[in-house]
């Protein structure tokens, strides 16, 4: 059986009047976006691991406290893009505040920005050819698929489908990273299964993975249009 198709959008649920629902929704958003946000701070803003973690945490807290998440208007674009804009604004502001503090505290100051000819400061130049939005999208896809895999793992654990997940993990996850991916026949021999059953198990797991990814995507998008657009970018062909 596939995962349920319709799930409550956490993007919309963060506006709930119910504090518990709001907190659950924020947990859902943090779960999906933590890694992309953290990685973006590391690559775009060149922060070290610890500062990037602090900034990511501070960002989600500020997003809820300052009402950024509530103010998101699904009519005006994708939530992912909106979040990225808020994130960059937040980090820029935090860095300005940190600079002021350091100046005032007479501490040794290592400039994070380089002075322009006119004395203004700017951010460090990015690596040539780096498409930050594409990188953010890739991390977002990684996060989504990782969550879907974990969801599938949890669903299969202790059930008759545990072997299906074991085959899936061995062939489609570990096998993809390894130089010598096992054949279906080898997997069958390892698990005492005929090749046709290995094929069926893998097809089942892939179908469930797709359903899990789409279910998670449904949660973190705010409208049907955004959901379909993101799903096409993630799993299908772009609209003609």
């Amino acid at each position: 059986m596939a995962f349920p198709e319709t799930r409550r959008s956490v993007v919309l649920a963060v506006r709930s009047a119910d504090p518990e629902e709001r907190a659950r929704a924020l947990d859902g958003l943090v779960e999906a976006y933590w890694r992309p946000v953290y990685r973006h701070i590391r690559t775009r803003w060149r922060e070290d691991e610890e500062d990037a973690r602090d900034l990511a945490q501070g960002f989600f807290a500020a997003a809820l406290e300052k009402g950024w998440l509530v103010r998101f208007d699904p009519e005006r674009g994708k939530f992912r893009t909106y979040l990225l804009t808020c994130l960059d604004g937040h980090v820029a502001k935090e860095r300005r505040a940190a600079r002021r503090l350091k100046r005032g505290g007479d501490a040794t100051f290592v400039p994070l920005e380089q002075p322009d000819e006119d004395g203004e400061t700017r951010e460090l130049p990015l690596r040539a050819g780096t498409d930050l939005e594409a990188e953010f999208q890739r991390e977002w896809a990684r996060s989504l698929f990782s969550l879907a895999v974990e969801s599938l793992r949890a669903r299969c654990a202790g059930t008759g489908k545990a072997v299906a997940f074991a085959l899936f993990e061995r062939y489609d996850i570990d096998g993809a990273e390894a130089s010598d991916r096992p054949s279906y026949a080898q997997l069958g021999a390892e698990h005492g299964l005929p090749v046709t059953q290995v094929t069926n198990h893998l097809h089942w797991a892939r179908r469930e993975l797709r359903a899990a990814v789409l279910g998670k995507l449904r949660e973190i998008t705010a409208s049907e249009e955004e959901y379909r657009s993101e799903a096409r970018a993630l799993l299908g062909v772009e609209a003609p």
Partner: protein, 353 residues
């Protein structure tokens, strides 16, 4: 939570796109093609033990118009039984909700790739006539293709021609104001196009009235325009409106009154092209539908006349051109007469001496 590596992520994205064929009569093969409307896979039909092509659209994530278009395309093709149109075997929904139709798996090359391998003018024109046949057949059954271009024509290993991609075709009984009557959205250029910088995502093969979205005016003559553009491509390697093969230059459709044959860009691009053929292209590509051939049969007949060395309707001849054509057509007979006359003159001169 276990973090996925780059390769695992790419692989999972790939396998998650594969259609789920469990419980169906099909066994998934390779991805054959990917386009704006869906993905085409090869698949083995276990029931009939043959390989087919499955065109699949992810209905759960595609926009409803795309799904409707796929179903409409399958229905239209199913009603057009012609050797130049790929037969549809089956249509339906897969267990994961995606919709598909099964059709004959076509082997061969797309016309844009094949055209370079057709060496002579005569062969290119005969190939063009084979493209006209299924289109004329569809018109006779009330169907306008509306997206004819070299990328949608397949040429088989024995020179057989198949007109593909009827996804934006329109049946004359469909109400013009319906959504299905909307003009096709210009599609991104394929890899081939981009590589050669000739199409670059512009509606180069689309009739002007269709490109302007004048749905009520789009009829069979829109396909005549597209066929004219295909003919021009076959003859010159260019699309209408292009005078330079520069990727930066925007492609445009011809505008304004129909141009005289001598003003066609193809004349400059292919100096050896006969003027009568330019005139045929010019008439097929007239901006105003009333200036074009009324039917595909008329266009094909003119091309056929050119091949036979006869006078083409699109090209008014003066006496000199008429004589040249006559001479070209009866070259052997004229050569014999001239040789005979020369011989008589020589004999006459010799006799007098």
């Amino acid at each position: 939570m276990k973090e996925l590596g780059d390769q695992a992520l790419d692989h999972l994205r790939e396998v998650a796109q594969e259609p789920d064929l469990s419980g169906t009569r099909y066994e998934l093969g390779e991805e054959v093609a990917r386009g704006g409307m869906g993905v085409v896979y090869s698949a083995r039909d276990r029931e009939l033990e043959r390989v087919v092509a499955l065109k699949v659209v992810a209905a759960e994530i595609a926009d409803p118009e795309t799904v409707a278009r796929l179903r409409r395309e399958a229905r239209i093709i199913a009603h057009l039984e012609h050797p130049g149109i790929v037969p549809v075997h089956d249509v339906g929904a897969l267990p994961d909700g995606r919709v598909f139709y099964a059709m004959k798996l076509v082997t061969g090359k797309r016309l844009d790739a094949q055209a370079r391998e057709v060496p002579t003018l005569g062969e290119r024109l005969r190939l063009f006539l084979r493209i006209c046949e299924p289109v004329a057949f569809a018109h006779a059954h009330g169907v306008i293709h509306r997206d004819l271009k070299p990328q949608n024509v397949m040429v088989g290993p024995f020179g057989e021609v198949l007109v593909m991609d009827w996804g934006v075709a329109k049946h004359r009984e469909e109400p013009p104001a319906s959504r299905s009557g909307a003009p096709p959205t210009p599609r991104p250029a394929s890899d081939h196009d981009t590589a050669h910088g000739t199409v670059l995502g512009t509606p180069a093969y689309m009739a002007p009235e269709q490109a302007r979205g004048e749905v009520d005016r789009v009829d069979a003559r829109a396909d005549v325009y597209s066929l004219g553009a295909i003919l021009l491509f076959l003859l010159t390697g260019q699309t209408p409106g292009r005078t330079k093969a520069s990727p930066e230059e925007p492609t445009r459709t011809w505008a304004g009154p129909a141009r005289p044959p001598a003003a066609l860009p193809s004349r400059r691009l292919a100096p050896g092209l006969p003027r009568a053929l330019e005139a045929i292209c010019g008439k097929a590509l007239a901006p105003d539908p009333d200036g074009r051939y009324a039917t595909v049969d008329d266009l094909a007949a003119d091309v056929g006349r050119f091949l036979e060395g006869e006078r083409v309707s699109a090209y008014p001849e003066n006496a000199w051109r008429k004589a040249r054509r006559f001479a070209g057509r009866h070259r052997t007979a004229i050569a014999l007469v001239v040789a005979y006359l020369v011989m008589r003159i020589v004999l006459l001169v010799v006799a007098r001496v």
